[in-house]
């Protein structure tokens, strides 16, 4: 892979020289995996068992903790709320950002650069600092304690990054694409959604992945805007559990595992895309 690796001396001494490096990498691997291993095995243990048997496998793989987290602690409702908010924000962000990026990257408007700059400035804006005014606005619009309100706020925050990505991908498509379609009498909406958007699928997946992660994980805005238990999202619920069920460790571990599950599944399916996306531009946050 790297040029350094190819042209080295005798194989054995090379491997020996690399041992300290492997050791360093293994230590951090253990530092990452051990806490996660403890999390997973503790999910199946009662609190007493967690104290008795710290690192071993549980006596039985009983799902009691998951059941009580899902029903008694009502994490099921929070989970559904998080899914709705994440799905809604991803779809809304993709649709409106692709619509905005299309003319900004492919028309000669004379004001493309200014408008694009206005959107891009939002990538860096510390929106948390606007939370007081945002709270007043949401209250006046009747969007407190509402999943719709969260979807709108998250989309607004993610639009700058999405427009940036879509514009970059759309700009390099050949102009014959839309010109030919226009000659055939296709409308602009059709050109965008049936011709351009399918050509920039990598952009769609980058935007979808990173919007989904950011929204699923966010804690700050539900903390400010959601008071009713029926509308709490998973991270907000978890922050309450940690204090509330302080003595029921098995339940807290199980709820942490449940909240990680969708991210873990996504990560296993998309690890390569995520690694490349992050490596290319640090597209997170």
């Amino acid at each position: 892979m790297s040029a350094l690796a190819i042209s080295q001396g005798p194989a054995l001494s090379r491997q020996l020289a690399r041992l300290p490096g492997w050791a360093v990498l293994s230590v951090w691997t253990a530092a990452v995996l051990l806490p996660l291993y403890i999390l997973v095995v503790s999910c199946f243990k009662t609190t007493a068992e967690i104290y008795d048997n710290r690192l071993g496998l549980p006596q039985s793989f009983a799902f009691d903790n998951f059941v009580s987290a899902w029903t008694r602690a009502n994490l099921g409702q929070n989970f559904v709320n998080s899914l709705i908010v994440t799905g809604g924000a991803v779809i809304l962000t993709i649709v409106v950002s692709a619509m905005a990026a299309y003319p900004l990257s492919r028309y000669k408007l004379g004001w493309n650069a200014i408008m694009l700059g206005l959107f891009l400035s939002g990538i860096m804006l510390p929106i948390r600092l606007a939370s007081v005014e945002l709270f007043t606005l949401m209250r006046n619009l009747g969007l407190l304690d509402s999943l719709t309100g969260l979807i709108l706020v998250y989309s607004a925050i993610r639009i700058p990054f999405a427009v940036f990505i879509f514009a970059n991908f759309m700009r390099v498509l050949p102009s014959e694409l839309d010109e030919a379609a226009r000659m055939d009498g296709a409308g602009e909406a059709r050109i965008l959604f049936q011709i351009i958007l399918p050509m920039v699928k990598p952009a769609v997946s980058i935007v979808a992945i990173f919007t989904a992660i950011a929204v699923w994980n966010d804690f700050f805005f539900p903390l400010i805007f959601i008071f009713d238990d029926r509308y709490k999202t998973v991270p907000l619920a978890i922050s309450v559990f940690v204090g509330q069920f302080r003595t029921d460790w098995g339940l807290v571990f199980a709820s942490l595992a449940i909240s990680m599950a969708p991210i873990l599944i996504m990560y296993c399916l998309l690890a390569r895309q995520i690694r490349e996306g992050v490596g290319a531009g640090g597209g997170m946050k």
Binding site: L4, S7, L25, R54, P126, V132, P235, V278
Partner: protein, 310 residues
């Protein structure tokens, strides 16, 4: 003539279509990001009663921010955020460089290690904070392990100790995000031409020389991205503190950050005095906005100038 007219009619249709297409994104973005942010900056120059702007106050909110009783909180939080930033630069972005270099030198296993190292970054800081709070709790598994190894005796109270609580949170944050520098550095290293390393090796450079004298200068764009991201993230730090130490930044404000302080001023502290001070909160917000804005611009310029073109 006709083509000209067609072209100009296409132009005006395009102008109309463009406005129509941009409007939804612009409306959502302007209403929920630009407008509240502008109003927050503007509002920091006013006296507030509850959530109502009363009268223009000039810079009085700002001067109140720096004196008793706010001053101690402000300087404390400012120091904690600064320490957090440098802690992350050393323990996350420094050690991350070592990991990335080790992975770059190996032809096998890089993808596996990268995936493992990056996994915690996929998790919500709330989940990470809650997990480590359980692991580090008195009676938790880390206390048990340290006692068993004879490295520590009795109850482990790192999170209750004001001298090491902040360092512990920084370590948890570094654990959370270690994968980010590893991925960004390895992507940067792969872009460097192999011939450069070949030449350095022919000149007899060892692995350490190669990293610091050859690779690092060429990694300036990656280092710039990481420094800027770490700066923005640490000065927005809230979730880990809230989940592990509460919104007061316990014990005795030793892990308080600018955003937890902002949150208490804006939305009231739970449990203790539930009093909000919107004027002060907005002034703090404006100050933080200026710190983030100037800091980010300075860093981008700094690293831009040090980028080596080959």
């Amino acid at each position: 003539m006709t083509t000209l007219r067609r072209r100009s009619s296409l132009r005006s249709t395009q102008q109309r279509m463009a406005v129509l297409f941009i409007l939804p994104a612009l409306a959502v973005y302007a209403l929920f990001v630009l407008y509240p942010l502008a109003m927050s900056l503007w509002g920091s120059f006013f006296i507030w009663k509850g959530l109502r702007m009363v009268e223009f106050a000039g810079l009085s909110n700002f001067s109140r921010l720096f004196v008793f009783p706010s001053g101690a909180r402000l300087y404390g939080a400012l120091w904690h955020n600064t320490a957090w930033f440098f802690g992350i630069m050393v323990f996350q972005n420094g050690i991350g460089l070592l990991f990335a270099w080790l992975l770059f030198l190996r032809d096998k296993g890089a993808a596996f290690f990268q995936s493992v190292f990056f996994f915690p970054a996929m998790l919500s800081p709330v989940i990470v904070g809650a997990l480590w709070r359980l692991l580090l709790a008195p009676g938790g598994v880390i206390e048990w392990a340290l006692n068993g190894l004879g490295l520590h005796q009795g109850s482990l109270t790192v999170l209750g100790n004001s001298h090491i609580a902040l360092a512990t949170l920084i370590a948890v944050d570094a654990w959370n995000w270690m994968g980010l520098p590893v991925l960004i550095y390895t992507a940067g290293l792969r872009q460097i031409s192999g011939q450069i390393f070949e030449a350095a090796k022919l000149d007899g450079a060892g692995s350490a020389r190669m990293l610091f004298s050859v690779a690092l200068p060429l990694l300036m764009p990656a280092l710039g991205t990481l420094t800027t991201l770490s700066f923005i993230n640490t000065f927005n730090q809230f979730d880990i503190v809230y989940v592990m130490q509460g919104v007061q930044g316990n014990p005795s404000y030793s892990t308080d950050t600018l955003v937890t302080y902002f949150y208490r001023l804006a939305f009231g502290a739970e449990g203790a005095v539930g009093i909000t001070d919107i004027g002060l909160a907005l002034a703090l917000g404006t100050m933080l906005f200026l710190i983030l804005g100037t800091g980010t611009l300075m860093m981008l310029r700094f690293f831009d100038r040090r980028t080596v073109q080959l």
